[in-house]
């Protein structure tokens, strides 16, 4: 009697399972939709967070968004504070910034915390306790990867000389046009561009093509560590049938050679010591300049600030 009732109950429960599962799934869907808006900060939350940053802002500060795509914050952050938010930004050393304000929203779905822990947190030390503004969390970090930037080519372009050098003939100087230089073939200017999703203000350079190379000479570069980073801008970087770009950096202590191979996305970087101040010359050459638009950051880094 008891056994048959048990079997009957089991059969009834089994029969109800599909409808029960469907109902639970639907309730999950509804619950998700009801709960999700709680993860969205209000304008007032952003304004309060920005006010907190502004109150303690110091030169060299930067704001990093977490997750990287939460760029609505840009609407509220005033222009002088650089804002970093791009796919892959947790791996950015942010060397020019001794303090990083991380504006995070941990309430959003699938926040990439593992990536943040693995790539951002090493060498970064929290300064004080996190502050909460609605769903936003604001935490200041000391950037252990920061260095004093003693020289930045993009800022020193006014003092530079640019020319096109061809094998077996004299260098042809490139006249200035506005902030940059226009050569008969090729050009160079300071500009914002994207290298593998990262917005960068860099020396934007079009090599002349063939054996000639564009050369930029900085007459007086201070001591420290020369850091040369170069990348192809935008979608041209991934293309497979394009020329390599050759970069040669000549300094008082020697030569640094970098190659930007075809289909390489992101920066290629190299460094060299700069024990004495003096002139530095960077040359860039590509056999075929088609879609070889190069974004170059050349800096001299000193000690941690």
């Amino acid at each position: 009697m008891v056994g048959s009732a048990f079997l009957r109950d089991r059969a009834r429960i089994r029969a109800a399972i599909p409808a029960g599962v469907f109902a639970l799934v639907a309730l999950f869907g509804l619950g998700f939709q009801l709960h999700l808006p709680r993860a969205f900060p209000s304008d007032a939350d952003y304004q309060a967070a920005v006010a907190a940053i502004a109150a303690e802002q110091a030169p060299g500060d930067v704001v990093l968004l977490h997750p990287w795509w939460t760029e609505r914050a840009r609407l509220f952050l005033p222009a002088p504070i650089p804002v970093v938010g791009y796919l892959g930004d947790t791996a950015d050393d942010l060397v020019a910034h001794p303090r990083i304000w991380v504006l995070a929203n941990e309430h959003l779905p699938y926040v990439p915390d593992a990536d943040f822990r693995a790539h951002f947190l090493p060498d970064r030390t929290p300064l004080g306790t996190p502050r909460q503004f609605g769903p936003l969390t604001l935490t200041a970090y000391r950037n252990g990867r920061a260095r004093t930037v003693r020289f930045s080519a993009v800022d020193a372009l006014a003092s530079a000389e640019v020319s096109v050098e061809s094998p077996g003939s004299a260098a042809v100087p490139c006249p200035r046009t506005g902030d940059g230089f226009a050569c008969r073939a090729g050009r160079m200017e300071p500009a914002w561009h994207e290298v593998l999703y990262q917005p960068v203000r860099c020396l934007f350079l079009l090599p002349p093509g063939g054996p000639p190379r564009i050369a930029v000479r900085f007459p007086d570069v201070p001591t420290g560590t020369l850091l040369l980073e170069a990348g192809i801008t935008w979608e041209h970087a991934w293309k497979h049938d394009r020329s390599d770009v050759q970069l040669v950096l000549g300094s008082p202590t020697g030569i640094l050679h970098l190659r930007l191979p075809q289909a390489h996305e992101g920066f290629v970087a190299g460094d060299a010591p700069m024990p004495t101040s003096g002139p530095v010359t960077l040359t860039v050459q590509a056999d075929d300049p088609h879609e070889r638009e190069v974004c170059i950051r050349l800096r001299v880094l000193g000690d941690p600030p």
Partner: protein, 608 residues
Amino acid sequence: MSRAPDRIDRRIALALGLVAFVVLWATEKAVGFVRDESVYFAAAEQFARWWALLFHQPSAALSDRVITQAFDFNHEHPMLMKSAFGLSNALFAQTLHWVRPATGFRLPAFAVAATIPALLHLWGSSLWGRRVGLFAALSFFVVPRQFFHAHLACFDMPVAAMWLGVVYLFWRAEEDLRLAPWTGLAFGLALATKHNAFFLPVVLAPFGVLATWRAGGPEARKLLLRMGQVAVAAAVYAALLLVVLGREGLVRTWAVLSPQTFGVLALVAALAALAWQIARTDRAAFVPLAPLVAMGLLGPVVFYVHWPWVWYHPVDRLAWYFDFHATHVHYAWTYFGEVLRAPPFPLTYVFIVTALTLPVSLLVPMTVGLVRTWLRNLGDLLPALARRFGRGGSTEWLLGVNALFSIVLISFPDVPHFGGVKHWLPSMPFLALLGAREVDRAVAALPGALGLPERRVNALAVGLGALLLLPGLTATAHVHPYGTSAYGELAGGIPGAASLGLQRQYWSNNVTGVLPWINANARPGERVWLHEVNGLSFRDYQRNGMLRVDVVPAGGPEDADLAAVQYHQEFREQEVLVWQAFGTAVPLTGLYLDETPQVIVYRRPTRR
């Protein structure tokens, strides 16, 4: 059991279709013009002018030169829908002034899309009862991306409707000979809608042939085998010509009197003669073959006749048409943090994107339904599965194959993967049917499980059905009119998809989210760069009253005072170029869907 729906279900289907049409129309105004749509608007207007010329000066209209002039624009796609868009616009917008121009173009798209819930109800109710038909019909348009695509004067939803219509008619015609010509006609209209329809014979021929074989006597089977031999001989003949003449030579030397024409005519004549013999000797065997015969005869005729562009140069232009789609460019597409730009694409892409974009409360019944269907189908081959899950049978196979065909086709790593879910929409109505059957099975078991009287089952069906439809309905309402950005709960909604590194949006229509701000804040005559919005769309926003007519389209940020940048991972450079041109990285406003940046607006700080 007859496959014909009863009168009540026909009326319910009609009502569902009408409601769908009205809802699409009522919610259309907010939907932006996707990049291709404005091209189709322009093409449709041009075709409508040709129809007017045909009416007034037929001899001029029918000349090769005029036809080429009228139909050369956007000959990437056949013109059934574009003609309907153009004629509808000419009548309802230009002549009667009942609607704005965009609505005039879109009305035929609503009408065709509205046949989907109607057909789903007809089919579902015939197969498994009224509850299944109703749930399948209602569930189709509470999927945000499907609801969005149903608004567009494009071809993706129309071809999904046509595909469903052809397969449904084919299924009906297999027992009712009178429907065979309608199947052929529907197939022709499907071909005239979009090239997906060229795969329909691949899907349906095995069913027709197998049913004929089963129904036929020895004589019919012999004739059927002979038809197969003719088809093989034709394939060998075509291969031979291809080897001898080469691909280009085959097209170049194709004349009225040529081996190519002979081959086609011989194939058609031989197959038609053999089919005629089957019809005379074994009527029972001919019935399931008839829809295929009608498709073979009527489909190409309708396709050819509907498209004046191919009338004078059928070989060259059809070769170009097929070549264009066989070698379509690959647009960049973001998938789990990687921008896919070229094949091979991930094999699981289509399945994953489908799962991440459907409301989970519909995804689960669909998945269970699809799995059950294939277990039953395999039960036809494996007795162990048959004992556990039952046997499939031809209808179950037909549904199972059609539910997967487009999904599997697009899954091939070399097939272009852009466009969200739109390229495999023809699978979705079939998944809706299979999902609805699962929901009904679950409901039917409830009275016994809960100890309730059987008469309560309809109330339970309403309750569970409403509960399952509600998440999709709320998601659809929430994201409308930005359907290309929609993601389901498994993806974590729109913000979850952003964190997962999935495509944020596509096709540029989300710009409507910032047009009111531009209208309110643009200075008179200001130069506005609407990134990703082509010139035709810009014009359409202005002529439909969505964008002020005094603002001027700019070619890029360097040329603009206001810029609205669409967030695409592959277009990050475009936004950075705005920073460069405008000297600021601080936007003024934007469209942020559930916090995700979609369209970001910048203004040049001072006027030049």
